[in-house]
Amino acid sequence: MTQLVPLVVLVPLLGAALTLVLGKRPIAQRLVAIVALVIVLVIGAVLLIVADASGTLVMEVGGWAPSVGIVLVVDRLAALMVVVSAIVLLAVLVFSVGQKIADGDSETPVSIFYPTYLILATGVFNAFIAGDLFNLYVGFEILLVASYVLMTLGGTQARIRAGTTYIVVSLISSMLFLAAIAMIYGALGTINIAQISVRMAEIPTDVQTVLHVMLLMAFGIKAAVFPLSFWLPDSYPTAPAPVTAVFAGLLTKVGVYAIIRTETVIFPGPGLDTALMVVALLTMIVGVLGAVAQADIKRMLSFTLVSHIGYMVLGISLGTVAGTTAAIYYVVHHIIVQTTLFMAAGLIEREGGSTSITKLGGLLRAAPVIAVLFFVPALNLGGIPPFSGFLGKLALFEASAQQGTALAFVLIGAGALVSLLTLYTLMRVWNLAFWRPAQDVEGYESPLLDNVSEAPGAQPVKEKQRISRLMTVATGGMVAVSLALTVFAGPLFAISERAGENLDGSSSYIAAVFPGGVQ
């Protein structure tokens, strides 16, 4: 079964090469891209079943035993992430096929979209299955370089401006990560994650702390954790709708995944847990306060994205099995729901010609289907029972209460407040864009709009554009998946729990990579 592991990376990479060759045949390109992602989805599902049934899969690349050779490790967490990412990537791909990336193709050259998209997928999958730090770095670089291209697609001035910030910040995080790898190699003589975990305990604690902080800084920038999060709401909203959807869903979560690995395998002890809890608190609150002030739906969603990263960091920082379990469930929930909301925002933009709540109105009557497709994930993100957002937050709060420190209870309070404010911002969109009659938009006054600031350089309302059935189907499919997270919450939570138990300390990870013990 381990032979399947490298295919997760190889299939999208070969697909990217093939789509590049087929540059002049858009239909064949789309077909290849969709087939490649479907294959990865199937392989991911098989890996998840196998990893869940018979334990962690370890592939020694080229047959070289670890510590000399490179290992690819698929445990329950990695397999789960691969499956969820494949679902999201596939749905957004279908959405973008329906949208033809953007009409009037002058803004977006379609022929490079599919290869770049598949390379992005390659990077994401490679990061999930990496068994050594340098391979993780390479995975990050692959997905980042692809994301630079997607972010500046078409090269309009606004995108170049936003892309520049994004690229410079990402370059700094990559350099920090590479420097951290160099220092870890200098201190421990290895870059294999399992071996690092064994040797880390043997070096002085102050050196450990330096390495720990460097890794967390590098991953924190990628995950958009509070003091390092300001690049995100600035850069995401300018990209094309499908690109923003997949970035919001996946890229930050790759950072969160790396933080989970750092906290559970490389530094399993309490380490910086208290600092992480404070950071989680600030991320939640600062993020949602930004969202409250935004009139533009895409910018508002970008701020809620930052604030909900705080929930995941909270789960990780608890340092208990229950906390890790809740964090894993929350990551899965958030990838699906945040992507769905951004796709729905893309539909709103085409139907209403704008994404600003000051200019939208009467959408419930004009487009009832879009209303449903926005309303369900909005309630879900706000944490209304019985949706998965509620279940995830409940699990996080339970885990915090079990841990029982004063700070943990402060975090529960903050978490509840933040979910209320999230609900407020989303229901404000609902009230204004969907419920408000279209003829009332001109000269409308309401306390809801008092402290809202428009997106800078906001565009005037555009003509209504046609929405192809494929876009609605893709968004509807994602809504169905998010509902499935509720219906099948039992089995999913059980898998998360087993994944969390796997990550209770580093012993099971080390035993999987070095079955005969570490030399």
């Binding site: 390479v138 370089v145 001035q157 790898i181 200098g186 600035d234």
Partner: protein
């Protein structure tokens, strides 16, 4: 582990200059800064290989501790290739930025401008037409400069 002092000093200077340049507004300087920081990190990796020794080719009469550690060199090679690809992309970005606005400076952040104005309201961004190609047309270019 012994470390070459020269390597360490060069690395520190490269890091300092690189970080300084990356804080500049001009994109070309950011690119130069990125190249310096990238090379400083490569030197850090080399330094972590420890004492240099014989070429790491297994043969009779050569003990493992007499060889240079080959792994950091493999890492550096990969890092160099990545830095190369990213700088190529950055150059394309700078060129595009130049085509659009005839300068490579990072524009003011629209949010900051709005805040400074105190209005917190809408600011209409003036876009230079995408297809106006003033670069190779002196007449057009001078009129552009006059506008500014």
């Amino acid at each position: 582990m012994t470390i070459s002092l020269v390597l360490l000093i060069v690395m520190a200077v490269l890091y300092a200059c690189g970080v300084y340049l990356m804080l500049e507004r001009s994109m070309t300087r950011v690119l130069l800064g990125f190249l310096l920081v990238g090379n400083a990190t490569n030197l850090l990796l080399i330094a972590m290989a420890g004492q240099p020794g014989e070429a790491p080719i297994v043969r009779d009469g050569l003990a493992a501790q007499d060889m240079t550690d080959p792994l950091p060199q493999a890492l550096i090679l990969t890092a160099i290739v990545i830095t190369f690809g990213v700088s190529a992309f950055l150059m394309a970005l700078i060129y595009r930025s130049w085509r659009l606005a005839n300068r490579d400076q990072l524009e003011d952040d629209a949010d900051d401008v709005a805040l400074r104005a105190g209005a917190g309201g809408v600011r209409v961004e003036q876009l230079v037409a995408d297809d106006r190609d003033s670069e190779f047309d002196p007449a057009q270019r001078s009129s552009d400069e006059a506008e500014r």
